[in-house]
């Protein structure tokens, strides 16, 4: 991830999205665009959470089904689904989510550590938890959405 916008004491802007009944958020500086669902071309020999690839203005963009990545059941994508295009290092990746729910400004000190009870998969890319109006939103560390070893293999 590149620069993280910080204003004042560690305040950052985040984009929150919904997958099933859970809410997550990513740093807005990593988000390149948000677009509607378009049918992806299936890639052979790929992990289950890779829906395939789509054409993003001439570039081939892999789509990660965020629900499957979390170990949740796959939901058949519809026109209501949303792809959040994020930049991870020099690569662009699309995250397939149910909907974008909010734009938040949070201080770093509002982030609570992920409790030990969470599964290894979840813990590997949930950086922390934030309480917002009685909801719980997980802050995603994008570096771990695609396993590092895979990106090395690329």
């Amino acid at each position: 991830m590149n620069e993280v916008m910080t204003s004042g004491s560690g305040a950052r802007e985040l984009i929150a999205f919904r997958v099933g009944v859970q809410e997550f958020c990513v740093d807005i500086m990593a988000v390149r665009e948000i677009r509607g669902w378009t049918a992806a071309t299936v890639l052979p020999q790929s992990p289950g959470y890779i829906c395939g690839v789509i054409n993003l203005r001439g570039a081939v963009l892999p789509i990660v089904d965020f629900a499957v990545r979390l170990g949740l059941p796959r939901s058949e994508p519809t026109a209501r689904h949303v792809i959040i295009v994020v930049q991870i290092d020099r690569q662009m990746v699309g995250l397939l989510v149910d909907a974008v729910s909010d734009i938040l400004t949070m201080n770093d000190n509002a982030i609570q550590p992920t409790p030990d009870v969470a599964s290894d998969v979840v813990k590997s890319f949930v950086r922390g938890l934030m309480p917002v109006d009685g909801r719980m939103i997980s802050l995603i560390s994008l570096d771990h959405v695609l396993p590092a070893v895979e990106r090395e293999a690329a």
């Binding site: 049918a39 992806a40 790929s46 289950g48 890779i50 789509i54 054409n55 001439g58 990106r151 690329a154």
Partner: protein, 736 residues
């Protein structure tokens, strides 16, 4: 970037080119071509590096280049024989020069002992003793350093000078002008000029190109005689000149004021110029020359000449650009940032896709085939293709730059292995995309190392086999059916098939009883983990085998194969696309997916009949074809799109040929057509996918995958040759 830094970059780029020329030229000389053109080109290369290096104060480089250049100059003048011994020294000197250039570029250092020893060898060639730094004089000759631009005022003038100056006709013939020299002299201080026109003949007797005037200049300047001589430096052989100290009495006159000087009749620069043009130098209008012009003093000028004419840069910016262009249009080239070209290529790629999408939409809208819209679209498509081809051509470059690096490599490897090697190159002007050029350096380097290290026998073994002691490595480039083919050929012992096979069995790469043809055995050397050297040597080594070469070649959309003749040698053939950006493909459907099969891999399409299909064992099927059996590969099953292979007789089959000439029949559901596609990397945002070479964007805007035919074909061979899936996580196919 600041302009100097930019020029510095140009300089190092140019150095690389010059080093290449140098290498090529020296190789040519070594092979006996010592014609003056070749020797001159070699001299120029070194000379040019020296010139640029001087401008950037790269002393080490200047020094070395100078010594080198001295040797070349002697050869050029026929005073030194380019003996084999001399050639060896010069080849080593060229390597050292290359190292010095790179050291200067990267700010690193070179081995001073090695450089010094080569310098001394070069000096021995010239017969000149190690002469210390005598040649530094070369750059101490600063012709104009003595010309000051300071302007003297009339305050307390020390004794001045009297200069008598008589131009000879030759002075004018070389486009020097007495007036300009006087103007220059005037920059040293206030002066009074008188002209003696006594020897000016009658008009009838006047030679328009003759010289008749003598000038006497009283110069009130606190300068040295050398400074005055420097003004006349260019013309010292073409004039008579006397310089002497002025007497004190004259100083008083001159020093009183500039007005006095003016009263004494000092002409302005322009007047002098006008006079001289008319009086002596003019060819066109000798008739204007009249003695009274010389006699009549012009109005008083300022004592000191005005600053030189050049106008500010803003004025030069208004200079007609078109004229400029016209001049440079003669064989002109421009240098363009590669990023800009790539951006253009990307955009053209987009244009191609958009054009295709538009066509499809128009077609879907049901417009009649012959409608004006369709005609316009056809023209647009034509134009788009032409733009694409032209843009691609911008990136094309001759392979020379890569080939030029190889002689040095050959020398180094030859030295390390103690073998005698001659390198022949052919087809250096063959053009291919710049990216391809950059990326074939490593594979080619490795192939050449391999050819010398493993291909060529030792000198003793060669002599024992009745071969010349010197081994031959031939590097050839040519265009063949829309691809570039590069061959590395050696006249060594060829592949020892028995040993290769034993090794492959020992490493568990093939089963001991596998029926392998000679060709298949030869190609075992490309298998991962295979290395024919009993120990991994430093030369071919770093633990890198031919499998890595093959993989990097495949990553370029290329193929590599080997043909070996026992006792006679081996030929490695590299076949690469001319550009990495587009590909001609066949569009096929497999289980509802659209795939592109590179046309270059397809031998023919066929419709299998059921009686042609035979099953071998559990799941191997072969197709009986022209008296042989060719393995069938169900593409859908191989890629995991479907669990059960389709029935070949209800499908379409493509006979394909992978690298090394291995054939297979690919079974697909249907063929949609052929088209040129723009290749898009999967690795840019994701990673390599086994069985898939790349992706492209189709007319409907969707991504289609380009099949990796070699990987698919290898599915038909032994388990160990299967798609390298070990790097991949357990396969969990998503529903489509």
């Amino acid at each position: 970037m600041d302009p100097m830094a930019e020029i510095r970059e140009t300089f190092f780029q140019e150095c690389e080119e010059q080093l290449g020329e140098l290498e090529t030229g020296l190789m040519r000389m070594e092979s006996g071509q010592t014609d003056s053109e070749t020797v001159n080109a070699v001299f120029r290369a070194v000379h040019s590096i020296k010139g640029g290096a001087g401008a950037f104060g790269l002393e080490d480089l200047v020094h070395f280049a100078h010594v080198f250049e001295t040797v070349l100059d002697l050869i050029r003048a026929g005073r030194l024989e380019p003996s084999p011994e001399a050639m060896r020294v010069m080849l080593r000197a060229s390597d050292a020069l290359a190292d010095l250039v790179r050291a200067a570029r990267d700010g690193s250092t070179t081995d001073p002992v090695r450089i010094a020893s080569i310098v001394s060898e070069l000096r021995q060639l010239t017969g000149e003793p190690d002469a210390g730094d005598a040649e530094d004089d070369d750059f101490a000759d600063i012709a104009f350093a003595a010309v000051p631009v300071t302007i003297e005022t009339e305050a307390a003038l020390p004794p001045g000078w009297i200069v008598r100056f008589k131009p000879l006709a030759d002075l004018y013939a070389k486009a020097n002008e007495a007036g300009l020299l006087l103007r220059e002299l005037g920059r040293l201080g206030p002066m009074r000029v008188t002209v003696d026109a006594e020897s000016l003949p009658d008009l009838a007797a006047l030679d328009p190109e003759g010289a008749y005037l003598t000038w006497t200049i009283v110069l009130d300047a606190d300068c040295t005689e050398d400074m005055i001589r420097a003004v006349f430096e260019f013309v010292e052989d073409d004039c008579e000149i006397q310089i002497e100290r002025n007497l004190p009495a004259d100083v008083a006159v001159a020093a009183s004021s500039s007005a006095v000087a003016a009263d004494a009749g000092q002409p302005s620069d322009d007047e002098i110029l006008a006079l001289l043009r008319n009086a002596a130098a003019s060819v066109e209008a000798p008739a204007v020359i009249e003695p009274e012009i010389v006699v009549a003093p012009p109005p008083p000028p300022p004592a000191v000449s005005p600053p030189p004419e050049p106008e500010p840069a803003s004025a030069s910016a208004e200079a007609p650009a078109a004229r400029n262009d016209a001049a440079q249009g003669v064989g002109a080239t421009i240098r363009v940032d590669l990023d800009r070209v790539d951006r253009l290529i990307d955009l053209v790629g987009e244009l191609v896709i958009n054009e295709a999408m538009l066509s499809q939409r128009v077609f879907e809208a049901g417009l009649a085939r012959a409608s004006a819209v369709m005609t316009a679209l056809d023209e647009l498509e034509q134009l788009t293709r032409e733009i694409q081809d032209s843009v691609m051509a911008i990136r094309a470059q001759p392979v020379r730059s890569v080939f030029q690096r190889m002689p040095r490599l050959v020398r180094e490897v030859a030295t390390m292995t103690g073998k005698q090697v001659r390198l022949l190159t052919d087809g250096e002007t063959t053009e291919v995309d710049k990216t391809v050029i950059e990326r074939i350096v490593d594979p080619l380097t490795h192939m050449i190392r391999n050819a010398i290290d493993h291909g060529l026998e030792s000198t003793e073994a060669r002599l024992a086999a009745g071969k010349p002691a010197e081994g031959l490595v031939k590097l050839t480039a040519l265009h063949r059916s829309g691809r570039i083919v590069i061959e590395v050929e050696d006249d060594g012992a060829g592949i020892n098939r028995e040993r290769v096979r034993a090794k492959a069995v020992e490493k568990g790469l093939v089963s001991p009883d596998a029926p392998l043809t000679d060709e298949e055995i030869d190609n075992l050397i490309f298998m991962p983990g295979f290395s024919t050297a009993s120990e991994i040597s430093d030369i071919s080594g770093r633990g890198v085998g031919m499998d890595v070469v093959r993989r990097s070649v495949q990553a370029l959309g290329g193929r590599i194969s080997i043909a070996s003749r026992p006792g006679k040698g081996s030929t490695f053939t590299l076949s690469l696309p001319l550009t990495l950006a587009v590909l001609d493909g066949m569009v096929v459907s497999v289980d509802g997916h659209t795939l592109i099969v590179p046309l270059s891999a397809i031998v023919e399409t066929l419709q299998p009949r059921s009686e042609q299909v035979h099953t071998l064992g559990v799941d191997v099927r072969v197709l009986a074809m022209r008296g042989g059996y060719i393995p069938l590969v169900d593409v859908g099953a191989a890629l995991g799109y479907r669990a059960m292979p389709a029935e070949p007789e209800k499908s379409v089959a493509l006979l394909v040929e992978g690298e090394g000439g291995v054939r297979a029949v690919l079974v697909v559901d249907g063929i949609q057509g052929q088209r040129q596609v723009v290749i898009k990397s999967l690795e840019a945002n994701y990673r390599a996918v086994p069985g898939i070479a790349a992706a492209t964007v189709m007319g409907d805007g969707r991504v289609a995958l380009i099949l990796d035919v070699d990987a698919i074909v290898s599915v038909t061979r032994s388990d160990n040759l299967r798609v390298d899936a070990s790097r991949v996580e357990p396969i969990l196919m998503s529903a489509s």
